[in-house]
Amino acid sequence: MRLLVVEDDPLIARSLEQALTPLGNTVEAFTRHADASAALRHDRFDLVLLDLGLPDGDGLALLGELRERGDTTPVLILTARDGIDDRVRGLDLGADDYLAKPFSLVELEARVRALLRRSQQRIDNRLRLGALCFDSVAGLAYLNDTALELPRRELALIEGLLLHAGNIAPREMLERRLFGFGEVGPNALEVYISRLRKRLQGSGLRIRTFRGLGYRLEEAEA
């Protein structure tokens, strides 16, 4: 994956490079708005990490320019400004996520992974986490590349969890996906979750419950 980092603070730029390169990415860092803008016009990147406070211009202007051109490259905004207005404006202009400084590198890596996954899915219509894969065109789920024979609701559950892979899939979303808008008992969803948990045993994946909130499909820690 090619990542473009626009960041004028050398310490942060270096740590970003060092944190993201080991994940299998190529990182190109620019300290100036104009250079980054030129690079974006000539090359294709999979993700842009954009600092808002640049010495020669406003990061939001760069973002606006990008979206104006119809470029849908995902953009993660990094900023020391905690003004809520900036955040809203950034998202309005088409930023995909927003991270306020100071941030922990772990947090950053998680967000970058999620954005890259979404970026990837836009290309091949497949949802994937570890050994589990869902082909949204064929409507089939695979575990270790073996197609699973599953009832419709379990397939819908897998798709729902994979859509939020690494993050919590809200309980209401999953219920609507499985049961539509009708009334459901409090434990109906839990029944399907426990069935899926059994199927995933030994696959390196697990489903964690968040009380009242939802479920998170995650890779079991080694």
Partner: protein
């Protein structure tokens, strides 16, 4: 923002002008009418005198009325303005016995004059005339037929007199306006003097002078002066609070920075890579703590000192709670805790609020709970929907807080007697600020057997639907 909207002087002057102008208009109309009336009366009485003079000259000869028009009568009719003159003596049938112009006297006028002396405005050869007619019973030897005497003249004299009278009235009025204007100008100067004094005093004031005003003001300005004093007092308090807060904040920032400094110093002196590693860990933690502290200080400062709290709009507290909790549950920090949401009420819960501030409030409550409870603790947030208010709560099964410290928890840098956490002691102070901004009451209590529960009570907006 101060928008200069004219001056008090202009405003007063304009009102005065409007008053004087409308009064003046009325006065002038009145003056015009009364001048016209006076002129009419003066000249009408001349006509009357002329008619009486002619009446004196009527004699009866052989049953026929005979009149030798007296010279004086004609001069009276003509007046000193040399009006054109009309006279006619009519017999009982209305036939002229004597007349100098072919000015026709209408039948109804003759009838009116038969009743009582009458006055008419007439037009003769394109000129307006004023006519007067009256009837006299002549005591002749043979007959007693009445005769009517009509006199009239043109209107130059009346116009000239009424014009003259009106001119006098206007002159008097203008003189009055002039004098009144002058007096009002002086009065305004005198009346506005206290304002000018106050302005000078305020202008001379040093920027950091926040003592109460020392000024003599009239009662109308008392309120303004008191408001200013009040403003100074509030500024003084706010400045003092800011100074205290800044001092506290620096102190608080110094502590973790000192830790960073000593840890890195120790590591630099050491040759042992294991010690370096341990020190680096400490440095990292210290840096994280410091940056979090800085964030919180900033939030608190902003909450306390941003004057223009944006207007409160209806916010669905349930949705906001779920959204915020989802975000926090996903964080690394929450990985070791059991963070959960109690079932939400079925209907949307609307409260007046600022979404960003409420998110900040929830974030601090959750952050606090995560930091002050041991890993594995159960933390639950929820809403209790009531008729007119809504209760937002967060509870944990951690160690709770020593009862004597419960009341002080909302003060900045208060850690509930705990030094073993990364907390800054600012979280609840921020919560307090935001709650106050929203007019929400909040309280902290220990749970049995152990744990802490924080409850906030918001005013609920009527109506269940939200767009």
């Amino acid at each position: 923002m101060i928008v200069v909207d004219g001056t008090l002087k202009t405003r007063l002057a304009l009102w005065l002008l409007a008053t004087v102008a409308s009064l003046g208009l009325l006065l002038l109309v009145e003056a015009y009418l009364s001048a016209t009336r006076a002129a009419e009366r003066a000249y009408d009485s001349q006509l009357e005198a002329a008619a009486l003079t002619i009446a004196e000259a009527v004699q009866w000869q052989d049953g026929q009325p005979l009149v030798e028009i007296p010279l004086a009568a004609l001069q009276i009719i003509a007046t000193r303005h040399q009006e054109r003159v009309f006279y006619a003596v009519l017999d009982a049938r209305g036939e002229p016995l004597s007349a100098n112009l072919d000015l026709a006297i209408e039948k109804r006028w003759r009838d009116a004059a038969a009743e009582r002396p009458s006055w008419h405005d007439a037009d003769h050869r394109g000129q307006p005339w004023r006519l007067h007619g009256r009837e006299f019973d002549s005591a002749g030897w043979e007959t007693q037929d009445p005769v009517q005497i009509w006199v009239g003249h043109t209107l130059a004299g009346r116009r000239s007199l009424s014009g003259e009278l009106f001119e006098h009235a206007v002159t008097r009025f203008l003189a009055m306006v002039l004098v009144a204007g002058l007096l009002m100008f002086l009065a305004m100067r005198v009346a506005l003097a206290p304002m000018r004094r106050l302005r000078h005093q305020l202008r001379r004031r040093a920027a950091d002078d926040m003592r109460p005003l020392d000024a003599r003001v009239p009662r109308e300005l008392q309120e303004l002066a008191e408001t200013l004093d009040n403003l100074f007092a509030r500024q003084r308090n706010s400045r003092d609070a800011l100074l205290r807060y800044t001092a506290d904040a620096s102190h608080q920032l110094k502590t973790p920075l000192a830790g960073l400094q000593s840890a890195s110093e120790l590591a630099l002196k050491s040759e042992d890579p294991n010690a370096w590693r341990r020190a680096l860990g400490e440095v990292h933690d210290g840096a994280a703590r410091t940056s979090r502290l800085a964030n919180q200080l900033l939030s608190l400062a902003r909450l306390r000192h941003v004057a223009d709290a944006s207007r409160l709009a209806p916010v669905d507290l349930g949705a906001l709670l779920r959204e915020t909790l989802l975000e926090w549950a996903d964080r690394d920090l929450a990985g070791a805790h059991d963070l959960g949401l109690a079932p939400l009420p079925a209907r949307p819960v609307l409260v007046p609020g600022e979404p960003w501030a409420l998110r900040e409030l929830l974030g601090n409550l959750i952050d606090n709970a995560l930091r002050y409870t041991p890993p594995g603790s159960e933390i639950t947030l929820g809403l209790n929907d009531e008729e007119e208010s809504v209760e937002l709560y967060i509870e944990d099964d951690g160690p709770g807080v020593e009862p004597s410290r419960l009341a002080r928890l909302h003060q900045p840098f208060e850690r509930g007697g705990r030094q073993d956490t990364e907390g800054s002691g600012l979280g609840l102070a921020i919560v307090d600020s935001i709650a106050r901004r929203h007019g929400a009451e909040w309280r902290v209590e220990n749970r049995t057997p152990h744990g802490l529960r924080i409850t906030l009570r918001f005013r609920r907006l009527p109506g269940a639907s939200v767009a």
